[in-house]
Symmetry: D2
Subunit: 137 residues, 4 copies
Amino acid sequence: MAQLVRFGVSLEKDLLAAFDLRLKGKKYTNRSEAIRDLIREELVRQQWQEGSEIAGTITMIYDHHKRELVNKLMDIQHDFGNIIISTQHIHLDHHNCLEIIAVKGKPSQAQELADTLKAIKWVKHAVLNMSSTGKDI
Amino acid sequence: MAQLVRFGVSLEKDLLAAFDLRLKGKKYTNRSEAIRDLIREELVRQQWQEGSEIAGTITMIYDHHKRELVNKLMDIQHDFGNIIISTQHIHLDHHNCLEIIAVKGKPSQAQELADTLKAIKWVKHAVLNMSSTGKDI
Amino acid sequence: MAQLVRFGVSLEKDLLAAFDLRLKGKKYTNRSEAIRDLIREELVRQQWQEGSEIAGTITMIYDHHKRELVNKLMDIQHDFGNIIISTQHIHLDHHNCLEIIAVKGKPSQAQELADTLKAIKWVKHAVLNMSSTGKDI
Amino acid sequence: MAQLVRFGVSLEKDLLAAFDLRLKGKKYTNRSEAIRDLIREELVRQQWQEGSEIAGTITMIYDHHKRELVNKLMDIQHDFGNIIISTQHIHLDHHNCLEIIAVKGKPSQAQELADTLKAIKWVKHAVLNMSSTGKDI
């Protein structure tokens, strides 16, 4: 289990009061946990900027009524097989599918896959979501 | 099948040349598809701003080595059962799990679920990703 | 002068080491200052979300070669006189002007001014930048 | 004056109707202008990603009651004199100053200046805003 350390932060009394109020609204019960989350978010930004190994998700919406589309999406996902972990597929309504692809690799590879999917006709929306492998955070 | 219409856009010659070059880098083979995607992204921003029904994903990383954590996450997901469609779970390594929750509902509900999960100890990172039900885009 | 308080944060040793490394890259010489900045950024997000009084800047680029444009921009700025503090104007080259408008007021008013300016022909780019009056942060 | 060209976009009738409605809310009177703005925003994102010459603004809030702070800010601005065009200073209240620095140069230089300013004690908030020199958009 990870070794815990403790350090002190000094700040203006009013700033701390405002932060504590914000944390209540954000469901935190513990100030340290909120600080840890701010720190981890900063580190995730760094991992994406610096091209470290990251994890993320690509969320896309498409109309599945074109059989060729489904085949094309399948082909592309196989081309990027080295960074795709798994895919979750949801039938939103008669027309629209929500597909969520979990990826692990370099930010540039994840971005290229997201770009390639978004550029396809009948893919209505595709967005890349930045997360982390959790290793160094 | 959706009825197609056509409209004209006038713009500076150099601006169009720069856009065409960008599209090549972004894998587009068709200018109309690129314009449609820019339009749809604008509409998705609107849906989230105005509180329409949206779809989205919450991506989170956590260390599963606390049995109470897994139960807590399960309880919360049941509390928000009305907006959760399904969940995808990936074992990133011995410690870290990547869990992706597909949601459909109001932006404020999706945000509240993401906040609630992020505030939990042992959840290292949680991020809400904005997409759409695809209905009006 | 503001009263300082001190509180302790406990976190994983490796997480703190990664954060300290990031801070070096971000020019920080002091960990408390970095934490304070993360906290203040969270509070600025809150002020914009909740519609508190904010300060911000609108940065726009336009081609000044249309006399009617300059008059139109002037008229609009007078219509929004209650939220505009001052304007800085820079001649980027023979064609392009960079104009930066400092605003103080409600987020929705600042957004409306930015939208109004962006929608004008010959205004090439306009973006709203979120900052704070500094009062509660 | 820039040469205008015209091209056609085909899209779903409902999508166009939704876009037209959005444009009304966003103060546009002209569909071409809205498309041009979406295109230019895409190109500005590209310029920042690819490290082209950009223009931008750094907006910061600080408490000027430390004389050494004002000197320090001045020194740093001189160190980055090659990318700073001009500075606008606003007295928000008895304590807080809003200072807006217009910059032109590489994105990495603008980011470094913003980081350096943000890391200083008594600088409460500093944010870098991405715009363009207007040259290729």
